[in-house]
Each structure stands twice: as C-alpha cells, then as structure tokens.
C-alpha cells in the first residue's frame, strides 16, 4: 500500500516535500509507571526533504524517512487506511491520522510540521502514553449493560432506534478528538470527548439499561460540563463523527433525566 508503483487512478506528478518533525529522545530514567512524575525528555526539531508521488500520504513520507534516512524515527501505525487509529498525530497544528492525510492536500510550499498529539505524555518521538486515554474510556462503562431476561434470539431494535447512535459507533479510539481539546490540555482529569462519545454510543442504544449510571459518571465536575463547545473535536475526528453534537446530546439527556 505504501510504496505503490502501479498507476493510481488520477496521476499526480512527483513533488518535493519538507517534513519538520518533533523528535523526543526518552530519558534514560526507568519509567516509574503511569501516574508517577515523568522525567523531562529532550526534544528537538528534525527536518527532512523528500521526493514523494501522486497520492502519497503523510504516513508514506514518515516511512520513507524511517526506511531510507533515519531508522530511529519512531511512530505507531498499523492498518494504513484510517480504521485502526494508531497514527494520530499533529500535522500542521491539526490532529489527523497520518495514513489518511494526503500530502498533495497540504500546503507544500512550506515545511509540514509533525508533532505528537498534545496532552498525553510523550514517550519517544511521535509515540505518546495512551494509558490515561484508555483509562477515561474504561470509566464510562463502555459496554452493554442489560438487565432482565436474555432473549433466546436477538434483541429487537428498530431501524430508527439503531440510527440514533450510529454516528458514535464509528469511533476508533485514535484520540484525535480528546487531544485536540483545550480543556483536556489544561486539565488531564477531564474525561475528554472520546470517552463521552463512547458513553453516548450506549446511552442512546435502546437495548442498554446503564444510561443512568453513565450519566451520573459524566455529571461529575470532570464530566460533560467541562466541554466549552469549541468544536475542535469535531474538526479533528478522522471518522467524521459529530463529536460536539454527541456531547451536547449527552448534556441534554443529563438535564432532562427523570430520576
């Protein structure tokens, strides 16, 4: 997928790209684990100029650096087509997936800046510690809670009921939204948009009985009310989820709940 020589459908010529990548060298201190103070790593900017082609993506450019110029450049990636959520990074100041960002769609007259996503501890180059992110996810009880007798066949759900939470089922837990949120940057305790999206996915699922618990969790001072509706999260979502709208729907559900 990455180094294609077959002819793409619409030919785009070769072009020159300059990447300016934030590099972070881990401290030699052994990690004291999540929650412990992290020793200050050292950071610098490295610049690479490359010749890229056609529909190459930022991920292809990063691979070219790693495979041809500097094997120490470190980043996460896996599926390379926007469904696994490994390669969230800050590209020209905006959170995106490197595998979903085509170089030709960026302004190539200036260097493309690439930084790790913000608000999570940087471990090495573009790799951040995802544990706080997944901890917040786990706190909203992101699984079906159903009381009563389990039916022998499937639970019924109408097409309309299914549609209510369709948007938030698309989440791939890449953290683009949460790490684009100014509230999260300033307050690491805030659940963040992704956790709320995943609470929404269950609160609005007709088969689920756990909405009251989840709303109680999100009514916390670090919950939905921290959201300042800046829409950064919606802009950042590589899956096109209306994140801010989902958060607003959860806020409204909390306000109008009857218990």
């Amino acid at each position: 997928m990455s180094d294609s020589t077959q002819t793409p459908a619409k030919e785009v010529a070769s072009f020159s790209v300059t990447l300016k990548i934030m590099r972070t060298i881990p401290s030699d201190e052994p990690s004291a684990g999540y929650g412990a103070p992290t020793p200050e790593p050292t950071s610098r900017w490295d610049t690479f100029t490359l010749t890229m082609h056609g529909t190459d993506r930022v991920l292809d450019a990063l691979h070219k650096v790693k495979w041809e110029l500097d094997g120490t450049l470190t980043f996460r990636r896996s599926c390379a087509h926007g469904v696994c959520g490994s390669d969230a990074m800050r590209i020209n100041g905006r959170n995106r997936l490197a595998c979903k960002t085509l170089l030709k769609d960026l302004n190539l007259t200036k260097p493309i800046t690439i930084e790790p996503i913000k608000g999570l501890p940087v471990l090495k180059d573009l790799v951040v510690n995802m544990d706080p992110f997944f901890d917040a996810y786990r706190e909203v009880q992101p699984f079906l809670i159903a009381y009563g007798v389990e039916p022998t066949a499937e639970r019924l759900q109408s097409v309309r009921e299914r549609a209510r939470f369709d948007d938030t089922t698309k989440c791939i837990l890449c953290a683009c939204c949460t790490t684009s949120c100014p509230v999260f940057w300033n307050d690491g305790q805030y659940f963040g948009p992704a956790a709320i999206v995943n609470a929404h996915r269950w609160i609005f699922d007709s088969r689920d009985d756990g909405a009251a618990d989840r709303m109680e969790i999100l009514n916390d001072r670090e919950g939905v009310w921290r959201c300042r509706t800046t829409f950064n999260c919606t802009d950042a979502c590589p899956r096109g989820i209306q994140v801010t709208k989902a958060i607003s729907q959860v806020k409204r559900a909390i306000l109008i709940r009857t218990h």
Partner: protein, 611 residues
C-alpha cells in the same frame, strides 16, 4: 527479565484472541499479550459481514452454508470443521448481538442480512442473503464489541508486547521426537516494546491468535503489522505449518494501493466492468456473476487485464461500478469504502467507477489444529496445552479459498472453542518446570543483541521491499514453475542477506526499527514455505493457480500440505510424505521438509466447481 505465571496466555488481541479471552478469563487466570493496543488489530478492517444461516430475510439453513464453504474452498476444506462452523455460526452471531453489537436491522427489528460472494441457496441455485452486517464496518464493530466485553470482564492485557518465542518441553525442531510421545507447552517469551525488557510468561495453555502474513506481498489489504509472527514462531520451534501456498487475493483492492473495498459493494449490487464497459463476470460465472467466490473473480479480473481489456492509461485495473445505485443506498450500506475511494483516489463513487485490482488479503493456511483448536505437531499428535485460532490457524474451514465473511465467523467460532478448551485443559494441568540451569529467553536475547549490536549491514527495509516485489511478481494470482523458481531463488538470497541485517536504532525504548527487522525474519521464513508449497502443488485449486497446471488434480493433490523446518543434516520423511508430497529442500542453514495430511470428507464428494 520478568517472569509471569498465568494459566492461559493468549498471543494476539484481534477477534480470535479476544473471543478466546472472554471464554478463558471467566474460567481461569488469563493474560492476553498483543503487539498492538487491542483496538488496533486488523479484525477492525473487515467490512462486509459475518455469515450465519439465521434465515431472517429468506429461507436458509446451516447445511447450505456448509456446502458453500466446502465448494468455495475447492473441496480442500475439512468438512467436519466446516459443518461445526456453519452450525455454530448462528449462536456466534446471536452472542455478538447480546454483547451489544449494533447490527443493521430489518424493518421488523431483526438482524438484517445481505448477499455475499459464494453464499447460495440450495447448493448453488442463486445468491442468498446470509451475511449479518453493521454497515461496511462489521469487523470494526466486532473488534470494538469484543474489546468492550474484555473491559467489562477486566481481562489482563499486556499491550505492545511482542511474542518472540514459544517454549515447549521437547525440542521438536530436530525432528526426532517420536509419534505418540507427550509434548507439553511451557510458555512464551515476549519483548516489551516500551522498555525493551524481556518477559517470560509461564503458562499451562498458550493460544496463538496472532493473525496473518499479508505483508510478504507488495499489494496487500493487510496492516503493516501482519507479518506472520505467530505462525513463524511455531514453525521455527519445529511445528508443521499447513497449506501455506493458499493465499487469497481479494478482487477489489483500490488500484495501486491495495486498500480493501468490501465484497459487500457487489453484494449490494456493484458490478465489475472492463475497459469496454462489459460486465465480464457474466462470461466467467454465468449464474452468480460478480458474486462468484474471490479466487474466481480475482483471476477473471487479472485475465481481463492480461488480455488487454484493462482500464486506465496503463490498462492495468478494472472498474467497480456503483453509479447505478442510489446515493442514499450507498451511504446507508457502504459509507466507509466509498469514502476510501474519495480519500485515496479522489474518485466519487456516486458518479464514477472505482479503479480496482486484486490485493493479497488472507492466508488460508497456518498452524494446523483440530476442531478444538489444539495444535498438531504431526498428522496425529497434539502439543498439550497449545492452541491456535483465527487467520494464523488452519483448521481447515477455508480449504484452498475462503468465502467472504467466513473469517469473521472463523474467529468467533474457533476463538471461542480454543478459549474454552485452553481454560479447561489448564484447570487439570500443572505448570511445567523451567530448567533451572537454562535461561528460557537466551535464544531471544541473543537474537536481539546480535541484530542490535551489528554496526553495519543490510537494511531491513531494502530486503522487505525486494521480498514483497518478488512475491507480487512471481507468486501472486498467476503462478508458473519458472516464476516460482525465481521467487524461491530470490527469497533464499534475501534470507542469506538477512543474516547480516542491522538496525540504526540501538536504543531500548520503543525500538520499532528492531521490531521491523524481526518481523522481516518471520516473513522470509514463511515466504519460503509459501513458494515451495506452490511449486510442489502442480495443480490449480482455489487461490492457488498454476498456469502450467490449470486443472484441479484430485488424484494427486487432494491433500493438505504440511511443511516442517528441519536441520540441514536431517533426511527423514515427515508424516505422510508419499508421491508428490515428498519434498525435502535444503536452504543455507535448514531444510524444508514437506509431507501431507488427508482431507476430511463427510457429506460432499468433490465436484467440478462452477458458478
């Protein structure tokens, strides 16, 4: 070095691994080690659906599903396993629904079903609606749902840990452990990516659920991380690997990129056309046309291109035409894949046909198991406590060609079975003591330090690129004796160069440079077996097509291929190695010895495969 002790250790956190973990973790102390965060696993990239004869929208039954699976696999399927899969499919789908998976629904609120390649009513009469789906992100929803349940059940994950060795109480690699002798699993050696630290996991049961190996090809739908690690670990420790020559090339990869566009596109009415606009599948599969199984469609597409009817400036792809479908229908049923076409090729599927070409997609072969997921060390004996499920395993429900949706089914049915079997075995077993004098991680540490310590040598990326290029050129949809000999020579030359591989990153923390080098080693080992198996199988069956032997040969080749890695000085035959399956091929530092295993046939006698 750290040592851990769990009753069950599962390697891999995709669909098979997490489905196994859900069963195992409620029965006994279980750990899952995964080279990725679980939600990054490639199960999430599966799109079209999971077949089960629910008969929610039209008449269907599991026997028809079994037949389709057997015929789809060109009769190399073990029919007892296929029957179990088709029967248990129904509960497997219902289990996922009860876990909260958001399937698309019928107007009555039941799980909706749609058509899929090779799935038919009454033994091939017409396409049947059997695939249960969640838009075109069924795999994503399965992966998310299983992970959610693992969170609920507090399953212990070791994320970004790479399994680098399998520990068993006999050295099977020498080939001198007698049939019938008891062999037990001891555990796994893993490498922690974040720190570079080595971990030894002692276990009563180990389950391989480590996925496929598509990255040995250049054009592939597979993630960068699908490098066959688990299969290669088993093979290096002397276990056989089965039917490795059968690789599925999915018809509709985005041209030039290989990114998967689901068969659901054709299930929902999409049509393949050549440069003349002709619906060419009518010529190759008159009854079910574009919904023929993948091997047939992929070959037909490649043939159109070869005969000069390809589309585009270089006539090197065909078109997937969705333009006659309502945009609202496309948005409801195929939102993700149409977005891939827009994002990566700049093509608008509402109004323009999408350029597509076959892409390496799925390994039918793998670590041989029985229907309980127990790993075989020859045709008859298992390794006690060792299990495998999913793409890394070969049970064999896919035979020589997997039907669409049967992989999501496989991981759920056999992941579950392996998880239960592993936990139940562990309940009555004891930990095997490690040898006090020997360091169980010595081999792994030596290998890591050798690569890391080498000051200069071959760059992994150069070798990997050359491997992927020769595999695409010589061992893809069309294969011949000459092309395969070329591939074998190339792979072996690369394997020799690999002995001098070096990395630029010498650090401990997050050394992905080092890991890519290790992954390349796994792929080189497996590619040799893929090519050797293809060379010896002088017939065409399912995903394996030999231009010099274009017909299926049931007399000579209705057998599973079993490949063993053996020392250079070993000359013994392995298992059932008569006739064409007596291959013993020497490379620089090892031999590949190939034997065979009978195919289990129950209900269905082999017939000519027409659609």
């Amino acid at each position: 070095m750290q040592t851990h002790q769990y009753d069950v250790v599962i390697i891999g956190a995709g669909g098979a691994g997490m489905r196994a973990a859900l069963e195992s973790s409620v029965r006994t102390r279980t750990a899952v080690i995964s080279k990725l965060y679980p939600t990054r696993s490639h199960t999430g990239a599966a799109q079209g659906g999971m077949c089960a004869a629910l008969a929610n929208v039209e008449e269907d039954n599991w026997e028809w599903h079994t037949f389709d699976t057997v015929k789809g696999g060109d009769y190399l399927v073990d029919q007892d396993a296929a029957e179990i899969m088709a029967k248990e499919a129904i509960d497997a789908v219902l289990d996922l629904e009860k876990m909260g998976l958001p399937f698309n629904r019928t107007p009555e609120g039941r799980i909706d079903q749609r058509r899929f390649g090779g799935h038919t009513r009454n033994h091939g009469e017409a396409a049947v609606r059997r695939s249960c789906y969640a838009a075109d992100r069924t795999g994503h929803m399965i992966l998310q749902t299983l992970y959610q349940q693992c969170v609920k059940n507090d399953v212990a994950f070791f994320n970004e840990f790479y399994a680098l060795d399998l520990l068993v109480d006999h050295d099977l690699s020498a080939g001198n452990v007698r049939p019938g002798e008891e062999v037990n699993v001891i555990g796994v050696v893993a490498y922690e990516l974040a720190t570079g630290e080595i971990h030894v996991f002692r276990a009563k049961s180990v389950v391989f659920a480590s996925g496929g190996a598509g990255r040995m090809f250049k054009t592939t739908s597979n993630a960068h991380t699908l490098t066959g690690d688990g299969i290669a670990l088993a093979y290096r420790r002397g276990l056989p690997i089965e039917d490795m020559e059968f690789f599925q090339f999915h018809p509709t990869g985005l041209a030039g990129l290989g990114i998967l566009l689901s068969e659901a596109a054709r299930g929902e009415g999409g049509i393949l056309r050549n440069a003349d606009g002709e619906r060419f599948m009518e010529r190759y599969a008159p009854t079910i046309k574009d919904l023929a199984p993948r091997d047939i469609v992929a070959r037909s597409m490649a043939n159109e291109v070869r005969e000069g009817r390809g589309c585009g400036p270089n006539k090197d792809y065909v078109h997937l035409d969705l333009t006659h479908l309502e945009p609202a229908h496309i948005d409801a049923k195929l939102p993700d894949i149409t977005e891939f076409a827009r994002t990566y090729l700049g093509v608008e599927p509402y109004t323009e046909p999408v350029p597509v070409y076959p892409t390496a997609h799925y390994l039918m072969g793998g670590i041989p198991t029985n229907v309980e997921g127990e790993v075989l060390r020859n045709n008859d004996d298992i390794v006690k406590g060792l299990y495998a499920a999913g793409e890394c395993a070969c049970v064999s429900v896919h035979g020589s060609n997997r039907l669409g949706t049967n992989s999501l089914l496989d991981i759920n049915v056999f992941g579950r079975r392996a998880g239960i079997a592993a936990a139940e075995y562990a309940a009555g077993a004891s930990f095997i003591e490690l040898d006090d004098d020997a360091d169980p991680a010595a081999d792994v540490v030596a290998q890591l330090e050798e690569i890391r310590g080498r000051a200069d040598g071959e760059r992994p990326s150069d070798l990997r690129k050359a491997l992927a290029e020769t595999m695409d050129l010589n061992a893809q949809v069309f294969r011949t004796e000459d092309s395969l000999e070329q591939a074998l020579a190339d792979v072996r030359k690369l394997a020799r160069r690999y002995r001098n591989v070096c990395v630029q990153d010498k650090s401990q923390a997050y050394n992905t440079d080092l890991l890519e080098a290790l992954e390349l080693g796994f792929m080189l080992d497996l590619a040799e077996v893929v090519v050797l198996g293809s060379l010896l199988r002088k017939e065409s069956r399912g995903g394996h097509f030999r231009e010099d032997y274009p017909l299926r040969d049931d007399v000579g080749f209705m057998r599973h291929t079993m490949a063993y890695r053996r020392p250079l000085d070993d000359n013994g035959a392995v298992g059932d190695a008569s006739g064409p399956f007596a291959v013993n091929s020497a490379a620089t530092d090892h031999r590949v010895v190939i034997g065979s295993k009978p195919v289990t046939q129950t209900r269905y006698q082999p017939m000519e495969r027409k659609y």
